[in-house]
Assembly symmetry: C2
Homo-oligomer: 251 residues x 2
């Protein structure tokens, strides 16, 4: 896969890559999709290169699609990372040999790279981590237990989470991360997990329903301990409207 790209590297933007921070929500945990080559010792964000004949947004969708298999999800560019030394010493001679990349072509990889960061919000239940090949493990990892990552991927991940926290105050989030039907406590847990902060149940209910993007279903969650919570779904039309106009007007 990588070798194919290197061997045809004239078809790709040189020194430019894409990295995706893919968020999912499960078991009250905010998960991040990470990959690890079997022979590698560190995990990394799923990433890819940019075909010269593809918009960068399209290339990002390709990356996301290749790892998760889902389409039409929330995907947004959040920052571009370009410190000089960010990928220094990433591909060593051994790795290039292992990948059967000839030395001359290897230079395409070892040069200084700038990477464009995208973050995605996906429905955990609809995704089965999709290993691109047998040399690679793909796994959902709780964002609080992310191990050491390659290069500056930790910084990229942190920035993505920061961005998500800010966006939470500007637009509704949840449509992309939860199943179609969900409960208010579930939605609240999502908010609490992203913000890393406890919220008051009753005030949350009031605020979230006042936005006017929720539809209360005539149905309760079953098989739960204690009182069964009501199920809700998003009113997609109003949701999109609020997404466009933003939540807080500020001034």
């Amino acid at each position: 896969m990588l070798k194919d790209i290197i061997d045809n590297n004239e078809n790709y933007q040189p020194g430019l890559s894409i990295d995706c921070v893919i968020f999912g929500f499960h078991d009250n945990q905010l998960k991040v999709l990470l990959i690890k080559a079997h022979r590698a010792d560190k995990w990394s964000l799923p990433g890819g290169f940019i075909p010269v004949d593809q918009d960068i947004d399209t290339a990002a969708i390709t990356v996301l699609n290749g790892r998760t298999g889902v389409e039409g999800v929330f995907l947004r560019q959040f920052a571009t990372f370009g410190k000089v030394k960010r990928n220094e010493q990433h591909f060593d001679k051994k790795t290039l040999e292992y990948l059967q990349i000839e030395e001359e072509k290897g230079k395409w990889l070892t040069r200084r790279f700038v990477t464009i960061g995208y973050y995605a919000l996906v429905d955990f239940s609809k995704i089965l981590p999709n290993p691109v090949n047998k040399h690679e493990i793909v796994e959902w990892i709780d964002h609080k237990e992310v191990p050491e990552l390659i290069l500056d991927h930790r910084e990229i991940l942190d920035k993505a989470l920061d961005t998500l926290r800010v966006e939470l105050n500007l637009m509704p989030i949840g449509y992309n991360l939860l199943s179609e039907k969900f409960t208010i406590p579930e939605l609240q847990k999502l908010y609490e997990t992203i913000l890393d902060k406890k919220l008051d149940r009753r005030n949350f209910l009031r605020k979230i329903t006042n936005i006017g993007i929720l539809t209360k279903l005539d149905e309760k969650k079953s098989n739960v301990a204690h009182k069964a919570p009501n199920l809700y779904s998003f009113d997609k039309e109003k949701y999109d409207e609020v997404l466009k106009n933003g939540l807080n007007q500020g001034w």
Copy 2:
């Protein structure tokens, strides 16, 4: 200048550039610093390329510095633009000939480019547009009267302004755009201009002073018609604190 870069293009990131949207405030107008080559018919954003041995943020500072001469101003990356056709047909044969760039080297310029957008906030009164060379006009232009721009620079400018509008709700703005001493009405005009919306005088005063970043000076503006308004300055320490923590907590 451009020719120097092309002739030594191995020292620059290929297919990657930086464009700066430089904002200033003067005469109750939000101004943008634009440039135009004498022989060109369209204006453009000041931009530049990225030396392989420079962080992208550093390269952006270089661009800003080359056009305005000021240092230590507010500069922030806001988006990266990478549509496939964004710079198609930008450099035609004639232009390359005019610039005395040989055909082979010209390919470095005509290839598909991705550009990283930065926006800057500068004190208009401290800047004199600084033409890099005699082939180029540099001018402050009211953002409402920006003429047709090259490539997708209009899109970049719009996105920068959008970002600025959003940031206005997240952090204090003004320190970088106004003189050291200023009046509340001036600050309000700035906000109104950016937001393109009238604000209530009295409510604005209350909100802006409640933030706690302003110092009321024992001095009034002189030589003005009607009642002389009081002068204020920013309390830099508190300003920076609010900058870091944000204005609205949201949830």
